[in-house]
């Protein structure tokens, strides 16, 4: 989505307020700012309110509603995405901070016709019921399995503690992650 910059931020510089430290030229102050970023391999340029969180940007501006919003304070993990390859909470980042970043959301995993092995493992092990928490679990697990291709159950439980699920009781999710690790190791479908 390419939007033209509307009012090009309020570029009121702090020097205007206080000329004493004029030696250092200061960065501008923004209320709206143009950002460029790649999401699931696609380049986007957009002008955003600086107070818009990254998760709201993904959902409302880009229409990528696979990433869910639960608590908006970092606890539930529903909004987990990959930022430059690392799993992070997209409710605790502002879209402006993602300028120049590479983002992967659940839409970047598989397609309905060809699920990612991780998604297949979740389906096969009944690792979801309502599915609200699932995108977050998938993205947390994706990053985790890249770093730990052969995780112990202990490690799986530890990483999953970062995401909440109100339906499954977690056992199915743990089974799915264990199985997904195996599928990914054997190169199946990847």
């Amino acid at each position: 989505m390419k939007r033209r910059a509307q009012t090009n931020a309020s570029r009121r510089t702090p020097q205007a307020r206080r000329s004493k430290q004029a030696k250092v030229s200061l960065p501008p102050l923004w209320t709206r700012k143009e950002i460029r970023l790649r999401v699931n391999g696609v380049e986007y340029t957009s002008t955003v309110d600086v107070r818009m969180t990254l998760v709201d940007f993904l959902r409302h501006e880009l229409g990528l509603t696979g990433t869910h919003v639960g608590c908006e304070h970092g606890v539930c993990g529903a909004c987990t995405i990959l930022l430059d390859g690392q799993a992070v909470r997209s409710c605790l980042l502002f879209a402006v901070q993602a300028d120049g970043a590479e983002i992967t959301t659940v839409e970047g995993l598989g397609t309905p016709e060809r699920l990612h092995p991780l998604q297949e493992a979740f389906r096969d092990h009944h690792a979801l019921q309502c599915g609200f928490c699932t995108p977050g679990f998938l993205m947390s697990t994706l990053a985790f399995l890249r770093e730990n291709p052969e995780p112990s159950d202990e490690q799986i439980r530890e990483v999953l503690a970062g995401n909440l699920c109100r339906c499954t009781g977690y056992q199915g999710i743990i089974d799915a992650v264990r199985d997904a690790a195996q599928r990914l190791r054997s190169g199946y479908g990847a």
């Binding site: 250092v24 200061l26 960065p27 102050l29 923004w30 209320t31 600086v50 908006e72 402006v96 503690a161």
Partner: protein
């Protein structure tokens, strides 16, 4: 909820950040990993006019080996500390404690400086700086101050930082010659500690020659208990010594009650954890001596 409107700026150097902080003072707020600040913004418990994003200040992100100390820049991610082999080798207590902070998804963003500046009473890093006697380097436009943890942590979520100052670095003394252990009890892995204990010991055979004990989650700031440390010194860390230490800990600590645990429970747990941590630290000391 959504944050109240603010203006955003992204300096690239410490100098620029300091001038910005100086310009806006109470109206400005540094944004580090955002793992504590953004929840407060989203819930509108914090409403700064200007958010000064430190994430592009590259010069604040480093882990430097300086022989007797390891200096860590304020914007170093907690995850980078966790994965650093230098930290594991030279700062084992920090390496062990950092893994208790939230979850990997939190530590990927959360910073060392942010955790200390936020000063949550149940956080892990403040008590680690306290038992290690780390130095906190604070910069303002007027100059640099080097503070001890006892000076830096003032009260519940309060530090000695002035609004126009930045915490820029933490200098951790290398502690390879100690046996160390960090233990905590929380409802789930990754939750804030109900009680956390950091222990350091040196041993001569079965006899403990030096002990340090620090606690988190049991008061507004992290605490050391010299009386409990003395009770360990010069004695074997057997059941009778550890029993006495547990009694001192329960008597001296003054934790609060909340929905997670009562004060009485916290005291009890603190005493028992202190014993376990001392014992584990002593075991590790012996292993290293033997190696």
């Amino acid at each position: 909820m959504k944050p109240a409107p603010f203006q955003y700026t992204a300096p690239e150097t410490v100098e620029e950040s300091l001038v910005l902080l100086h310009t806006f003072r109470e109206e400005g707020k540094p944004l580090a990993g955002g793992q504590s600040l953004v929840p407060l913004l989203n819930m509108r418990l914090a409403r700064p006019s200007v958010l000064i994003d430190l994430n592009r200040v590259r010069e604040l992100s480093y882990i430097h080996d300086e022989d007797a100390t390891v200096s860590i820049g304020a914007m170093t991610r907690q995850r980078a500390v966790e994965l650093s082999s230098l930290v594991r080798e030279k700062l084992p207590l920090l390496a062990e404690a950092v893994r208790y902070i939230g979850h990997p998804q939190i530590r990927n963003r959360g910073t060392v400086g942010g955790s200390l500046a936020h000063a949550d009473p149940a956080a892990e890093l403040p008590v680690v700086t306290l038992v290690l006697g780390a130095q906190l380097v604070v910069r303002g436009l007027e100059g640099t101050r080097v503070l001890r943890p006892e000076e830096f942590f003032v009260s519940f979520l309060q530090t000695a930082l002035a609004p126009e100052e930045l915490l820029v670095e933490v200098r951790f003394p290398v502690h390879r010659t100690y046996g160390t252990a960090f233990l905590e009890v929380a409802r789930r892995h990754g939750d804030y500690a109900l009680v956390g204990v950091a222990a350091m010991v040196q041993m001569d055979g079965e006899r403990c020659t030096e002990a340090r004990l620090g606690f988190t989650g049991v008061g507004p700031v992290p605490v050391r208990l010299p009386e409990a440390e003395e009770a360990a010194t010069g004695r074997p860390l057997d059941d009778s010594t550890l029993g006495e230490i547990a009694r001192i800990v329960a008597a001296r600590l003054d934790p609060h009650s909340d929905i997670h645990a009562s004060a009485t429970y916290r005291k009890e747990v603190a005493g028992i954890l202190a014993g376990r941590a001392l014992r584990l630290a002593a075991e590790r000391f012996k292993q290293r001596e033997g190696a």
